[in-house]
Symmetry: C2
Subunit: 302 residues, 2 copies
């Protein structure tokens, strides 16, 4: 399979869409009646400079199936809130105990532990409030939104993202098989990426076939992202990445390079990206953002 590099300007696209999402999240917070202590903590973490990859993939999926980008904005914002809540809780002392996130103090360091737990809870709850803002929803659209809430709550829940985090904690220090590792990553990050893309496609009124193919794209994209993350931890440039490398090895963490070797890991990443690209072959140029993101993952230096 040979894919021509398109002249699609990914950097420009990502910046543009990130701004759109940031301004929408800002709008949601500006509409809050009062800036209580809990709201300050929610906003601190939500506006801490995330790449907004999940909501961007959501909006892109709406466009890819021929829908109107605006219609997916509430879902895009809700997904970023869920992603942010999961980071806040994962960073807690009882979990990964991280003090820095994107160069800034984590929520429980900037505020305190109880505030961080509640801010996470509040962002998760706010996501569903945004998804069900029925004031603006017509009866004919209500079932679509319920479907989206279903997709997102399953992905974020006990057999999705939360199970992934649980398994990650339980398996710490243990060596994993390739299957276990794949399953862990699929749960921890893959399912929410998949839900982002599927939600966008549903809200753009995509066909069953379109949704099916985008789902395959999403699964492969999520996996490739993890494999290249592991590769960068071996041979990345700390100055470019803005974080230390070699940490996985020091922590004896199960990674793709450790289990299958560095060269095989690179081949594997290339293969799954090709699978992702193949899945969306039937789409026209409106799916170029997805194609560009997939290609970028293989080339990324950070």
């Amino acid at each position: 399979m040979d894919y021509q590099e398109s002249d699609f300007d990914l950097t420009n696209y990502l910046n543009d869409k990130k701004e759109l999402i940031n301004s929408e999240l800002d709008k949601i917070f500006r509409n809050f009646v009062s800036s209580s202590h809990i709201v300050k903590a929610m906003e601190y973490s939500l506006m801490a400079g995330g790449k907004r990859i999940r909501p961007i993939l959501c909006l892109a999926a709406t466009k890819a199936v021929g829908g109107n980008l605006e219609s997916a904005l509430p879902a895009a914002c809700a997904i970023e809130m869920i992603h942010t809540y999961s980071l806040i809780h994962d960073d807690l002392p009882a979990m990964d105990d991280d003090e820095l996130r994107r160069g800034k103090p984590t929520c429980h360091v900037a505020f305190d532990e109880s505030t961080a737990i509640l801010a996470g809870d509040a962002l998760l709850t706010l996501a569903f409030q945004i998804l069900s803002s029925s004031v603006k929803i017509k009866e004919s659209e209500a079932l679509i939104w319920l479907n989206v809430i279903q997709v997102i709550s399953i992905a974020a829940g006990y057999k999705g993202m939360i199970d992934g985090q649980m398994k990650d904690i339980i398996s710490e220090g243990k060596s994993l098989s390739l299957d276990d590792l794949e399953n862990l990553h699929a749960l921890k990050t893959g399912v929410l990426i998949e839900a982002s893309i599927v939600s966008g496609a549903i809200l753009g009124n995509g066909s069953q076939e379109q949704i099916k193919q985008l789902r395959i794209y999403a699964k492969n994209l999520g996996l490739a992202f993890q494999v290249t993350d592991d590769i960068l931890n071996v041979e990345g440039n700390p100055a470019v990445m803005g974080k230390a490398v070699g940490t996985d090895k020091n922590r004896k963490k199960s990674t793709y390079p450790l289990i299958m070797g560095l060269n095989e890991s690179k081949k594997f990443a290339t293969n799954i990206i090709n699978n992702a690209l193949k899945a969306i072959e039937l789409f026209d140029k409106k799916a170029d953002p997805h194609r560009a993101v997939a290609r970028y993952i293989l080339k990324r230096k950070k």
Copy 2:
């Protein structure tokens, strides 16, 4: 206003409805594909013997407006999940640091802290999964369910229950004014009780007027529950209550007896229960469970 004591058998009613809710929650967990570590923790806390007051009030509201009780069961279960998640997180070491709940070790004691955080997150998320199980929802009902998700997510969120818990933590050791105290309790427990009743009324296709009156009933009921809780902490019988009394005084906690005196607190409780009963005067005998619950709160010994 003189209310005749009806011959409604409240004990029997509460037991009957509690069984219905427990069997429905059980059914939800039996349908889970695998009993993973996280599911065990969720189930441990959810099935730890709660009184199921919120879901019972939800089902009763559906009946009161002339609806079919079964139609509100998913909402009743979801609300109990949200209530349970809030208890799990409130009990955490970083929050109230409680080791026992209903005579059993709290979730973080029975499992560990990270599991308890995630089990809470998972129950909150599962609530919204249950509320959006659109497979069984007709298009004409979808808007009603979205409305219920909106009501519940607002009540559980940053300007409802979570703000209450945040304010409770912040105000610890400070003396509160009566207004602050009322606001705190309204947020911490009142709003979810209100959402339970309003959700039930919406799902029973209640009229705007019926919903409005039930909302007033709920607000007064929630407040009365708190006032009598404070009174019991002063003059209750530890043997009957199954927990220590006098703890509020020892902790210098702001309570109604402390601020307005014991006798005034009792008069206040009677007044607000009368307000609750007056609000539902327009309802026929289908609202007898609500009337009986309101009267019970004044007489309760535990």
